[in-house]
């Protein structure tokens, strides 16, 4: 081992090595890329056939949402789309570990978590089509609006969790009552001040929040090596709470780890950082070109870790899935795809005067005058056209 000249200990890159595609020995895994069930001393649990089929269905449908949305963007129906291809297990595992009373603060790529919370995927498309900034009710679904500024929502999640503490819904021992919050963000956001401040606030107040970082290795074109010299989950220790790295392409492990972290939070034991080690198989958004900044070899290696095919292999081998199930889910995905295509194209544009709505809870006279002035101006065109 190389010891650096300054005498403060070993060089960190020497200790941890460059980014590893296998996630290192600390990776919690319950299902190998080859579809073999493995066991973990801390996070293992049994899964029923029904749960496994549910995970499979969720992941296939989530992938279809993503591929349909990408196609819709290519056809000019969406202005942009943030792809999640490859991250289905990380999101379904995290999303299905939630209870109804929990609350999620997503970034803008959590389409699978939204699916788990019952948000209509068409509502997600509306944001990327540009008809609104998000039309679902955060309170109804326990799923906040997408946040575009990287990492800002980690603080909102922490504050919301502090509110739960004050509402007395943490650590009561009542499973119907105790609640927690999940803040989603990516490896790039881990560099932001807001995420680090959220860690400090959450630790200081022992807020019931799970920081769920999907380390998909790339922040647009910046690799994880540009964000961190150490594995991200290890940062938690420096803030005073536990961190764990889970195989983000393994839906079983992601579910088990997130569920444990959520329970810890609900029990009043404070925050946890979960690093879901995964890979963004597509572009950051439909506007970028990943072939300019990364090697196709890497992509090919990660293809072998596909979250859906590994679960399917495991289920088929163990008699938990057959052609009938696979065909039924595919048919459901086709129907969903059709609904998204038609629904997206049928979305009406907002009216021009809608832009003035909801700026304030109590509208100002200034804005009312502006709205009326613009309405009168628009009316002159209608009169001219008569």
């Amino acid at each position: 081992m190389h010891v650096s000249h300054h005498g403060f200990g070993p060089d960190l890159v020497e200790v941890f090595g460059p980014s590893q595609t296998d996630g290192g020995p600390e990776l919690v895994q319950l299902l190998t890329p080859e579809g073999e069930r493995t066991h973990h001393p801390e996070f293992d649990r049994d899964f029923s056939a029904e749960e496994l089929r549910g995970f499979y269905r969720d992941m296939v449908l989530t992938r279809r949402i993503d591929t349909e949305a990408t196609a819709l963007q290519r056809h000019g129906e969406l202005g942009i789309w943030a792809q999640l291809l490859g991250q289905e297990a990380a999101q379904i595992g995290a999303g299905r570990a939630l209870r109804p009373q929990d609350h999620v603060f997503p970034t803008y790529r959590e389409h699978g978590v939204a699916w788990c919370r019952g948000v209509d995927p068409l509502a997600l498309l509306g944001l990327f089509r540009g008809v609104d900034h998000g039309s679902w009710d955060p309170a109804e679904f326990g799923f906040g609006l997408y946040t575009i500024v990287i990492g800002a929502q980690a603080l909102h999640a922490t504050g919301y969790a502090m509110g739960m503490q004050r509402d007395g819904v943490v650590g009561t021992g009542d499973p119907e009552r105790d609640a927690a919050v999940v803040a989603h963000f990516g490896d790039g956001a881990s560099s932001q001040g807001d995420v680090n401040e959220a860690f400090i606030f959450a630790a200081s107040y022992q807020a019931p929040v799970v920081f769920f970082c999907q380390n998909n290795q790339w922040a647009i074109s910046e690799p994880i090596e540009r964000q961190s010299r150490i594995p991200l989950y290890q940062r938690a220790l420096g803030f005073g709470f536990p961190g764990v790295r889970v195989d983000g392409n393994d839906v079983l492990a992601t579910y088990a780890v997130t569920q444990a972290a959520l329970q810890r939070a609900r029990d009043g034991q404070g925050p946890t950082l979960v690093e879901a080690y995964t890979y963004r198989m597509g572009a950051h958004t439909t506007t970028d070109d990943p072939t300019r900044y990364r090697l196709s070899d890497d992509v090919e290696r990660w293809k072998l870790k596909d979250p859906i095919s590994r679960l399917e292999v495991y289920m088929r081998r163990n008699g938990l899935a057959d052609a009938e199930l696979v065909d039924a889910v595919k048919e459901e995905a086709d129907e969903l795809g059709h609904r998204l295509r038609e629904g997206c194209k049928a979305m009406p544009d907002p009216r021009a005067l809608d832009m003035f709505d909801h700026v304030y809870a109590e509208e100002t006279e200034e804005l009312r005058v502006q709205r009326e002035g613009y309405a009168a101006y628009l009316a002159t065109f209608e009169e001219a056209g008569r």
């Binding site: 900034h133 603080l155 909102h156 504050g159 919301y160 401040e197 809870a361 109590e362 100002t364």
Partner: protein, 326 residues
């Protein structure tokens, strides 16, 4: 209550009253608990309302505002204290991108009933970043409301009104007047609405527009001008976004002249907006262009020369003379 109070006392009593009236009101910020804030505005509140409602925070402004966003989403009404004006910038992103837009983004489903208190302005001999006037940055942001109190009675009522408001309010407090003057608070006299400006001195020859710390300066200028036979009307704007132009326009239509005084840099400041609106609405009544007196377009200077930077009585009177000379 009917007693002589300072601005600091008025704000403290107003906060206390709001907390008593609504258990969802929380106070949050650096040193607001045991210390009672560096200016003692929150003095005694933690002792009476507990650590869950008066929250001493880590030293992170974005964190304070960002967690307050989450608390507001959970149904609380956070009142956050930014310790000094120049320290609000680390929270600027949270304020303009999140606080200001949450109601709009959510089509009204996620209101942000939050008050962000900022001690602002100079004249206390402080080091850099402790004397700034960032109001235009927030008044330029749709979704925020911005108010500035100028006296103890307004401080008492306006803080309660801001907390009751369902929109996020940037609440500016003239720090050099926290402990300066005592004024009689008579609670039997009902307050003006929060988003209203007020004529605080009647006059005929020109209208002085001021807010926060410059109201006192403007009133002193009017006193001095009266000795020379010039009668100046003084308006305390009180609300900066929205602006309450009614009393302003009425006044300028009568006097034909307007001078705006604020501590913030003149370039692209509130004075520019006021000049534009007065010109649009009162063009045929004006006898002179609207003139502005303010901080120069320099960073806030070292405190030994801050009196040169701040608009004082003489600079205001000079502008009045120039206006009257047209």
């Amino acid at each position: 209550m009917s007693e002589q109070i300072t601005l600091a006392k008025g704000l403290n009593a107003g906060l206390r009253k709001a907390m008593e009236g609504d258990p969802k009101v929380l106070v949050m910020g650096e040193d607001v608990g045991k210390l009672g804030g560096v200016f003692r505005i929150t003095d005694g509140l933690q002792k009476d309302f507990g650590e869950d409602r008066v929250i001493d925070s880590p030293l992170a402004e974005s964190g304070i505002v960002g967690t307050a966003v989450g608390l507001a989403l959970r149904g609380y009404r956070p009142v956050v204290e930014i310790q000094f004006d120049g320290f609000v910038y680390p929270a600027y992103d949270q304020i303009v991108c999140q606080v200001a837009k949450m109601h709009y983004r959510s089509k009204g489903r996620s209101p942000m009933p939050m008050v962000i208190r900022i001690p602002f302005g100079g004249g206390i001999g402080a080091v850099e970043h402790h004397s700034e006037s960032p109001e235009a940055q927030f008044a330029h942001t749709p979704g925020l409301k911005v108010v500035a109190c100028s006296n103890p009675v307004d401080g008492y009522w306006m803080i309660q009104q801001a907390i009751a408001c369902d929109d996020p309010v940037i609440f500016l407090e003239p720090k050099r007047q926290y402990h300066a003057d005592k004024v009689l608070l008579d609670e039997s006299i009902s307050p003006d609405p929060l988003f209203s400006s007020r004529v605080v001195r009647r006059g005929e020859h020109a209208t002085l527009l001021a807010y926060g710390p410059t109201v006192k300066t403007a009133l002193a200028a009017a006193d001095a001008a009266a000795v020379e036979g010039k009668s100046l009307e003084v308006i305390d704007l009180r609300t900066l976004s929205p602006l309450d132009m009614g009393p302003v326009l009425d006044s300028v239509r009568r006097t034909g002249r307007a001078v705006v005084a604020h501590e913030a840099h003149v370039n692209l400041g509130l004075g520019a907006e006021l000049a534009a609106r007065i010109t649009e609405e009162c063009f045929y009544s004006l006898e002179a262009p609207v003139l502005r007196v303010g901080g120069f377009d320099t960073p806030y200077p070292a405190s030994r020369i801050e009196e040169e930077f701040l608009p004082d009585l003489d600079r205001v009177l000079d502008a009045v003379d120039r206006s009257l000379d047209y």
